[in-house]
Symmetry: C2
Subunit: 457 residues, 2 copies
Amino acid sequence: MKASLGFVDEENMSMLTDLYELTMCASYFDNKRFEPATFDLFIRRLPPNRSYFLFAGLEQVLLFLEKMRFTEEHIKFLKSQGFKEEFLEYLRNFKFSGDVWAVPEGTVVFPNEPLIRVTAPIIEAQLIETFILNTINLQTTIATKASRVVYAAQGRSVIEFGLRREHGTDAGMKVARASYIAGCHGTSNVLAGMMYSIPIFGTMAHSFVMFFDNEIESFRAFAKTFPDKSTLLIDTFDNIKGAENAITVAKELEKMGFRLRGVRIDSGDLVEISRKVRKMLDDNGLGYVQIFASGDLDEYKIRELLSKGAKIDAFGVGTRMGTSADRPYVDIIYKLCEKMNEKGEFEPIMKLSERKATLPGRKQVFRFMDERGNFSKDVIALEGENIDGEALLIKVMEKGKIVYDMPSLEDIRKNALNNLSRLPEKYKRLRGASKYPVKLSPKLKRLIKDLREKLKS
Amino acid sequence: MKASLGFVDEENMSMLTDLYELTMCASYFDNKRFEPATFDLFIRRLPPNRSYFLFAGLEQVLLFLEKMRFTEEHIKFLKSQGFKEEFLEYLRNFKFSGDVWAVPEGTVVFPNEPLIRVTAPIIEAQLIETFILNTINLQTTIATKASRVVYAAQGRSVIEFGLRREHGTDAGMKVARASYIAGCHGTSNVLAGMMYSIPIFGTMAHSFVMFFDNEIESFRAFAKTFPDKSTLLIDTFDNIKGAENAITVAKELEKMGFRLRGVRIDSGDLVEISRKVRKMLDDNGLGYVQIFASGDLDEYKIRELLSKGAKIDAFGVGTRMGTSADRPYVDIIYKLCEKMNEKGEFEPIMKLSERKATLPGRKQVFRFMDERGNFSKDVIALEGENIDGEALLIKVMEKGKIVYDMPSLEDIRKNALNNLSRLPEKYKRLRGASKYPVKLSPKLKRLIKDLREKLKS
């Protein structure tokens, strides 16, 4: 085996799947089972310290569905794994031809609500499972976490800084995207800036300061290159002396008609240091110089800093947000909810087990608002039920073609911020938030009761 | 901005970097600073419940270093971000030309030990930082976690099953690779099987069982397609009834000259159910049918199951291993440790701060064994010191070319298993392991003392 960078690309993404998807599909094929079925993608439950999810990742799912193909290289490998020629021939011609309904990206959602609903011949509906879960799990986990960080920052800027500790190259890109959707102001990730037009930010590292003979020389060197946009890292030796040096350089910049953008503090007691540094800057007429803080931050730490009176204008948040360190996944699943029977009718299906029950049938989610337009409750209902609220699932794909005017990243971000602003405070508390009411419609409840009785007998 | 799958590939990987790497490099360039410097990549400290690290990811780092380039598209984007033409011209011709020493993949390592040591002109040494950290962090985090899971399984097979909840596409590939290095027997990830020749495994999902009119029909359909390698999922309705159906199908297979490979239990009390199912299988002369367990497993859960007498032959371990859920990162950093001075001599550099001090100078790590060949202690020393132990860092790249006969994945895995077997038990306990002794050489200690005094004055 040759050494490999092991990147996943458009050509090989169809093979980024669990083997069981292919074995099940081979068996469906072998048993001539091609009936359509519907699967729901949903999240089973709220993790500790989460009270909602911010849905993200749909764009990549739809592009995947439209473009996934099997190449001769794939077929050859699958043949070596014992798959039969007839099924391989089917894969050679594989194109996803199903219908997909989904909640728009940037929507606030809750456990058990269908987020993506796929109706397609069983083999197609099954074969796409792993990639969809992988995509939505990451972006929704991160968007949710990032929205909490942004919330804790109370209007101050949050920049996503975690590329070095995010899980590989694709996570680097998708974390930047999902964090931006959730309200971050930008990212340090240059490629995410290039590919997604996300604003990029960067300061300097300790090594830069240490490479010069002394701190002020390093500050001057940096300010020479970026006279109008330098943020100087002041904690390499001592934050206060670093601030003095930054003030000297800011004054030198002023003489040349430039303004120092900011100073960055990366260690120490951020409350005390930021207050001292703010005062030093203000006393020197440098009220415009921003204080940028970083170093092991997350929503809990930011809230603590601000509640203790830290004077910080912007936060660089890395590892803990970029890995969602306190809970690096959501309990996302993709479950069969109906299949076509011999009569050509769709028949609801449900899994009966205590902690893992599923909701049967083809469903829609309806959201109710209070008089101010804030979210007040959701109702999960059967499709076609006459319910007052706003339907969250919209048709995004028909017969394998995207029929959805895919919003720009900026529009997705606006939708997210709008959604978050309409979610009442009590559901957004970082700890101990209230439980948002999600009800089942009477018809759905009756169906569940009927199926439960039928299954038990 | 067009909708995008946002994949990182060989062409754009050079841009997967923090903006500050580029701003620092632009400033070095602007200030005509091109002197060589040395950086160490190391992990600052052990996370809770980790007592060692299993190093992984070097292959991808070396391929990155040899292949990274900047294209006209990159240059155009950087120009739009305000970078100056002279520096962009430098990037147009960029090729990494440095020397790299590293610990082989699959080596057990400890905090503060240099794992990769880069000596190159400062701009080159700086520009590569983010990608290296991103690559080593993920694979080392996962290899370490997976080695604990394999250890807990006490010789039973562990299959990596986490693709759906791993962080994006690249994590899917690299988690499969790192887990295999750490001793897992394979992965569910088909693409990892194709690209890395890792053995792939798969069973069936609940949806497959539910798609048929009843469980036994689904088992028969699956066994028809894979008569010699079916593992039947028996918990969709009831584990015991599922086992009865599996036994019926196993007997049917026997009549046709085939053997059922296994049954999978994915929920319920795995201890009690596995014991019951084992007895049922044995009572029916099906001692060869393996019991495969899955569902929210990790090293703690596996140890608990085995200590309570569960009868399980193999474990499918997903999310918690694939995200290293209890600690989804290591405190990995890349720090300047020496630079060339005006006289053309390398001069050691160190960062002085309480919790974030670094080790100065160009270093080597020496490992000592006891009389049985087991690891007894490590010594971090200055390069060239005459120390008895085995030197861990070897030269892998010279003037930008790989000079290392890169081992196959199988050989890396063997190295890992050999390393883990030579790490005494007391350092491998899942909780409360002893602290492995890592000492500093006398010369390194003296250098630190001298620099500390110099820096303080």
